[in-house]
Assembly symmetry: C2
Homo-oligomer: 241 residues x 2
């Protein structure tokens, strides 16, 4: 099967996904290492089919590249500089060309397509790492979580795409109540706070933070959690809305 079937897709328009995850009090991003002779890191991305809407395309692309299903993605910015060309992948493909052409997954017109200048729509989402198990596709060597503060150098402007997605995330965190997507089914208030501190990369006052979150009126308080620690047991909360 042809991997880059230029007939099926809108040309020169792509989608890239910034998937934030959270674990061990650290904010992470899902990044794939592309299956090439020399390693290339990139956000999970792809192209838009003629018969699908862009939101739908973003969902499909994310699933194809990472196996993640039913993730709510939100578009946040379009990246369209005049020379936005994927030199890195194109260079990698040329070294693989003969092998892949033989296998029938790449042909000349596919190569020409990928060498063009692309405009890319950035989408972002937040997921709970504990319940999310990315599966790499045949395009990639790996799909893994990287600490947002220690990202590898990615192709094109993908590092900048993450920076801008993070800005959008911070702006929308309270308004859209998306933070709770990053937490397990039940959680303590301390866990919520650590999550906020990871996302904003700054500390919050415990007393006022608790009040602010409870005043949102979207959390249900459950029983206390006996942690075995030498202190008062915290309540567990569940997100409801």
């Amino acid at each position: 099967m042809k991997l880059f079937d230029e007939e099926s897709f809108i040309h020169q328009l792509s989608i890239d996904c910034v998937i934030f995850g959270y674990k061990d009090a650290e904010l992470k991003v899902l990044i794939s290492r592309i299956n090439m002779k020399q390693p290339l890191w990139a956000l999970p991305g792809g192209f838009i089919r003629h018969e699908e809407g862009i939101d739908q395309a973003a969902k499909r692309i994310l699933e194809e590249r990472t196996g993640l299903k039913d993730i709510y993605l939100e578009q946040y910015h379009v990246f369209g500089g005049p020379n936005r060309i994927n030199h890195e992948v194109f260079k990698g493909l040329t070294t693989l060309r003969d092998e892949w052409v033989d296998k029938g997954i790449l042909d000349e017109s596919g190569m020409q397509w990928l060498a063009k200048r692309f405009v890319s729509i950035g989408y972002y989402a937040l997921v709970d790492i504990n319940t999310t198990h990315p599966q790499k596709s045949e395009l990639d060597d790996s799909v893994d979580w990287y600490n947002v503060k220690e990202l590898p150098t990615m192709i094109m402007d993908h590092n900048d795409m993450v920076v801008q997605a993070l800005e959008t995330l911070r702006l929308n965190l309270d308004r859209k109540l998306i933070a709770f997507n990053l937490l397990p089914e039940t959680f303590t208030m301390k866990e919520v706070q650590e999550l906020y501190e990871a996302i904003f990369d700054q500390p919050f006052a415990r007393n006022n933070f608790q009040k602010k979150i409870l005043d949102m009126n979207v959390l249900e308080r459950l029983e206390k959690k006996f942690t075995g620690a030498a202190n008062k047991a915290p309540y567990l909360y569940r997100f409801q809305k």
Copy 2:
């Protein structure tokens, strides 16, 4: 000269501009009536050249379609439904086809291109109507200001594009200090307030509104304005930042 030269542009990707203007305490939008047998209303839009960035393209398109120069446009949303096809304009073109093909401004491949499904990047801006004089292009019968509350029915999803642009405008008005673009060089506080009331479609308290605006520290107070009215003369202000 060929009007729709499909070779020069990225296919299936367009830009549409929502230009807000303000006059007589009313918020207006710049809308063109396309030069067709039967009238079609549309936002000023166009396509992206291979060698230009999208922001640059938006500026060029706006100038080509309306004559407006040096307007700061900001992208706000991408519209990419699965069947986003410009039926209206295509239908209009078919009735003009023979005439235009004769003139050499349209050919078969141009028609095929325009019949495709398009993803459109929405841009918006604010301008001072008093110092802005839109000039229609040869594509259009007219380019005119319409009250945002009484817009004509436009092609495709252009009415929805305006709604979403207005939401973005309201969210960003204070943060980006764009309101003052809608006012003449010097203005009174009452004029600023009327502008805000037009944009938000709601009244503000005069005393507190004045305080809020002055606390932004971006206005310079000039001399008083002798209006000839039977009351205290208001100060004039100038935007400086």
